[in-house]
Each structure stands twice: as C-alpha cells, then as structure tokens.
Amino acid sequence: MNEALNLDAAFSALADPTRRAILARLAQGEANVMELAKPFEMTQPAISQHLKVLEDAGLVTRRVDGTTRPRRLAKAGIEAMDQWLAMLRKALEKNYDRLDEVLAAMDQLSPQTRKLIAKPRTRRRGEKR
C-alpha cells in the first residue's frame, strides 16, 4: 500500500464529512467496514466506496485478517487528521475571539438591571425623602 501523501487526493478526500468521520473513528483504533458503517445511516458498500477514496489518497491502509479487512490510519492520515482538528480548533477560537470583542463593546448589564439603575423605584406614599 502506498503511504505517500498525495496532497490533492488527500484534501479532496477530506472534503467529505463522512470521510472525515471515518478518519476520526480510525484515529481511535483499527476497525472493519461493519464497525465503520455503524454510526452512519449508510450501507456497507457506500462506506467501502468512501474507504477506497481514503486508501487511494494514502490516508488509510488495510490488512487481511481471516475474512475481514480491518482498516487503520496511515501516517499521512494521522497527519491529515491533526491538521484538520487544528483547523477546527482555529475556527472555534475565531468565534470566541470575536465574542471577546463583542463583550468589550456591549453594555454588560441586563435590560432589567439597567432599568433599575436608570429609574430608581418611586417613593411610596408617605415615604420620606
């Protein structure tokens, strides 16, 4: 099995959410097609097709074990997953950096609290000034 990373094939393989999910599953350990198909509402042939794309891209390798062909991440697959998760993390961080700015700019009091401050309660009848 060719483990060399073909960048074009690898990123095109990663463009599909199901294939990224398969890689994430394999990052936790070897699995066969049946195990990989389980979390998806997809047939085993459909999963096999995705696996072929991942294998052709050098991200996943297979071995023979009796009648099954367990898949595992190739080194390139591990690197691609790391890169992918770093990007995911970056997008999350971007949101929260933006939230930092929004919080700095916004009035940090709730409308209720603001109302209480703006309009002290009116004096009840007979209450002294």
Binding site: R20, L88, L92
Partner: protein, 154 residues
Amino acid sequence: MSKLTMKTEGDTHIIATRRFAAPPEAVYRAHTDPKIIQKWLLGPEGWTMPVCINEARPGGKFRYEWTNGKGQGFHITGEYIELVPYSRIVHVERMYLPDPTPDSHVETRFDAVGTGTLMTIRMTLPDEPTRAAMLATGMEHGMEASYVRLEGMI
C-alpha cells in the same frame, strides 16, 4: 483572554472551556440574544448567519443558518431544556450537513471568576463512534469554509 481548551472525557463527552473578561451575565446574554449571537457565532471570515432564531426558554427552539454567500451553507436546530439566568443552559442540538447528525446534549455553565467568567461546555454524544464523527465533521461552525480556504492556499 485565556485560550480555548478542549478535551474528551469517558467515551461520549467533549469538554471545552474558555475564559472571558466580562461577567457571567454578559456572556450568558451573548449566548441567548439572537442579535448578539449573529455578531460572533460565525466561523471563519466571510461567513454570515442570516437566520438566527433563539427562543431562550425551557422548551424553546433555536435555529441558526450560516452561508458563505457563494452557495455554501448549513444549519443547526436545537431545543432548550433548562435555562438558569446567568449561570447554566442545557439544550440538545443537531447539525444538518445536510443530513442531520445524531443529537448532542449540551450543558453550558457560566461561572464568575474574579470580574470575568469561566465558561464550561459539556457535550454528551450517544456513543463513542458518534463522538469521533462529531469531532471530525465540525462540532462548531464554518469547518467547510476552513477547508475551502485551506484548499485555496495549497
């Protein structure tokens, strides 16, 4: 403020924490007021959230729709289970990519730390493979956009 931390716990949880300089009241409002949400929950540059419906009450629904203005987009729907102003939100959500992901159960806590807030998000997925899929397909928004941008760079 302090960086985001993310870790898995057991087989089905993802825990994320982030500190903010603002008090819990403000951070809580930024998560429940649609006008504020639309300003920051956007993912990478260039993406917007044209639809932001948020009924922040127990049993209330929310729906967020994102687009990159070039024909790509996706959405999330969810329902609130419990809201304790300004300290705790419990909800379920799923992402449409376009097929719905399994529901994830999310508890968000806002704890006062000094004059700021420590936010802790605890996500619970149905099982371990689903969590792996969740981490890979983008538990936050804008992953597709990140990918597209990276692809343009190489």
